[in-house]
């Protein structure tokens, strides 16, 4: 009887357990794939289209969703848990679905000129301690900044060096030197940034005009030790307009005739500077003036009577006289 009861009890317990499990188990043909890190589940089973059309659509979708959610929750409840402030917290594994990044990988900072040099020479980086011993104050002080050791801005007296100008303000000189160092450092920093940027942009300018290209070629041609003297020319190459001419000098001693001729030419040119008389123009002008004068006398004579007339005639009238000594500067 006792044995029988034990069997009964066992059977009952088994049945109960099965019933409980029935509550939370879902049967699927293909098992779901999980990405617990993203709380995601992927059900690869093809959904039953016939059932979907026959049933009410919403009901079908809801039951499908319930089953899948149950499976995901079952998986979630298997995770190791811990208690944080009266809440049961499950530890999630890393998500394993590969998703694209939002931005590209961060680039390492380009090395500064010093870093490049140090690498070339194999100079290791030295870590400087923050505190240094200050002999004056007999204590450890900061290396930099406020209340630093060996602070030369706090000197109340500076010895004037022998070589220095005694009237020069040594405090101002120190301050100036400091400011210059700061400015130099800033300039170097900016240069480093610029250099770092240039590394990434190493593309030659795309569209150069024909003239620019020609100029570049010309520059390249004469950028040799012999200033392009022995540079070959391209077939059918035109001489460039931009190229400058070299001065060439005559030999110091040589053909005397030629030298004489050159000197004379030079004198001629100098003569040319003085205005020369244009004979024809001067004559013409003289004649025009005399004509004009004669015409005026005639007028006066008619108005004034005989005397005037006679006088006018005596004056030469319409004579074609030779050129007078009066010179006209031809132009």
């Amino acid at each position: 009887m006792a044995a029988c009861s034990i069997e009964d009890v066992l059977a009952k317990v088994e049945k109960d357990e099965a019933e409980i499990l029935k509550n939370i188990t879902v049967h699927k043909e293909l098992e779901l794939e999980f990405d617990i890190g993203n709380l995601a589940a992927f059900d690869k089973n093809p959904a039953d289209v016939g059932l979907f059309r026959k049933h009410k659509k919403e009901e079908f979708l809801r039951s499908l969703a319930r089953d899948n959610t149950q499976l995901l929750i079952n998986e979630m409840w298997k995770l190791p848990t811990e208690r944080v402030q009266e809440a049961v917290v499950a530890k999630l594994p890393e998500p394993h679905t590969r998703l694209p990044r939002e931005k590209p990988l961060p680039k390492p900072r380009p090395p500064t000129k010093w870093e490049e040099f140090a690498k070339l020479k194999g100079i290791p980086k030295k870590k400087k301690t923050n505190l240094v011993w200050d002999d004056v104050h007999k204590e450890w002080r900061r290396r930099w900044g406020y209340k630093r050791a060996k602070d030369d801005t706090k000197d109340w007296l500076i010895e004037v060096p022998e070589s220095a100008d005694p009237n020069e303000d040594q405090f101002a000189r120190r301050l100036k030197a400091k400011n210059e160092r700061v400015a130099k450092n800033e300039l170097n920093r900016l240069k480093n940034i610029a250099r770092g940027q240039k590394v990434s942009v190493q593309v030659p300018p795309k569209d150069q005009s024909k003239a620019e290209l020609g100029k570049a070629m010309q520059l390249a041609r004469i950028s040799t030790a012999s200033v392009g003297k022995f540079q070959d020319k391209l077939p059918k190459e035109k001489p460039t307009r931009t190229v400058g001419k070299k001065r060439s000098f005559q030999p110091l001693i040589g053909d005397f005739n030629m030298e004489k001729q050159r000197q004379l030419d030079l004198l001629k040119v100098m003569e040319n500077k003085k205005p020369r008389m244009n004979v024809t123009r001067a004559v013409n002008r003289q004649m025009r003036e005399e004509d004009a004068e004669a015409a005026r006398h005639k007028k006066e004579g008619r108005r004034g009577g005989k005397g005037g007339k006679k006088k006018g005639r005596g004056g030469g009238g319409k004579g074609r006289g030779g050129p007078k000594s009066k010179k006209h500067h031809g132009k």
Partner: protein, 305 residues
């Protein structure tokens, strides 16, 4: 001297922090989404954008004004918005005769469009159409994808990846079990994609794992897939590049076989048999100041036999 060839040095700590927050990082922050209305939108599209905004809330920007642009024709304005609001996910809603009730889901990499999917809304019920309790804001949803299309079809697979990217929320090391309240269920079936959103009710089942009941809270969409823009393979690959520092370090001498069994190889040093402890006997006891050869040799012999 602060500006040199377009390098802007931040003048305040605050602006410096702001710029740093937008720089590329080794471990990236959560992707933000921007929800953009097109030139013409219907009531359905506007409401849908609002609902998606409330699903995604702390990490989303809802653009209030119209923006006349066509993502499949010209992406420059989207790229501009992305840069402006530092968002790499977007939904663009529009409505016209040819493509009524149109939503374009997309994502960016380095402020360039990676992939875009045009989904037409065929049936829609908004959050407000379901009169019941919703989930708290910022809940990390559970995502479930059902249907073999999500595994077999290339476009659907990419869409699945995009939807996971879009809705997954922050990556967290641990999660409160009773806080798993929200399920987004995507079903690819009958040439459509059904998006349903449920609230999870945990019921007692008699054992540790609870029984699940679902209550629909909306929004619910029936989508049909329209145009698709996929990233070129090399760009897609480039976008997936993992930083070297984050790759798990290979552990030496540990291997796994096909069933996931772990194998280890140990390297032992050669045992010094002279120091082996054998059976203790009074006769073999070491005497003070006496080291005999017999004592050294005897254990070796015993072992080698």
């Amino acid at each position: 001297m602060t500006q040199l060839d377009g390098i802007v040095k931040p003048k305040t700590k605050r602006s410096k922090r702001f710029l740093q927050s937008r720089e590329p990082k080794l471990v990236e922050n959560i992707k933000n989404a921007m929800l953009i209305k097109g030139g013409n939108t219907s009531q359905v599209v506007t409401q849908a954008l609002k609902d998606i905004h409330s699903l995604k809330k702390p990490n989303a920007v809802l653009y209030k004004k119209k923006n006349i642009t066509r993502p499949f024709e010209d992406q420059t304005s989207l790229e501009f918005f992305s840069k402006k609001s530092d968002c790499s996910l977007f939904v663009f809603g529009s409505h016209n005769k040819k493509r009524p009730n149109n939503l374009v889901f997309g994502r960016m990499f380095d402020f360039h469009v990676l992939d875009m999917f045009e989904l037409g809304i065929e049936n829609y019920l908004s959050l407000e159409d379901f009169k019941n309790a919703k989930f708290p804001e910022g809940t990390k949803p559970m995502l479930i994808f059902a249907g073999d299309l999500f595994d077999t079809d290339n476009e659907h697979r990419r869409l699945k990846s995009l939807l996971v990217d879009f809705f997954r929320g922050p990556t967290v090391p641990c999660v409160r079990l009773s806080g798993l309240e929200h399920v987004l269920h995507f079903t690819a079936l009958d040439g459509k994609i059904f998006l349903r959103s449920y609230r999870v009710l945990l019921k007692k089942s008699g054992c540790r794992t609870p029984r699940i009941e679902l209550e629909e809270i909306g929004p619910s969409f029936d989508f049909s897939l329209r145009r698709v823009h996929l990233a070129s393979d090399d760009l897609y690959k480039k976008a997936h590049k993992q930083p070297k520092q984050l790759k798990p370090k290979k552990k030496k001498n540990i291997s796994h076989d096909a069933f996931g069994t772990k194998y280890g190889r140990l390297h032992m040093q050669k045992q010094d048999l002279s120091k082996l402890q054998t059976r203790k006997m009074k006769g073999l006891r070491k005497r003070r100041g006496e080291v005999t050869e017999e004592e050294h040799g005897s254990p070796k012999k015993a072992k080698s036999d």
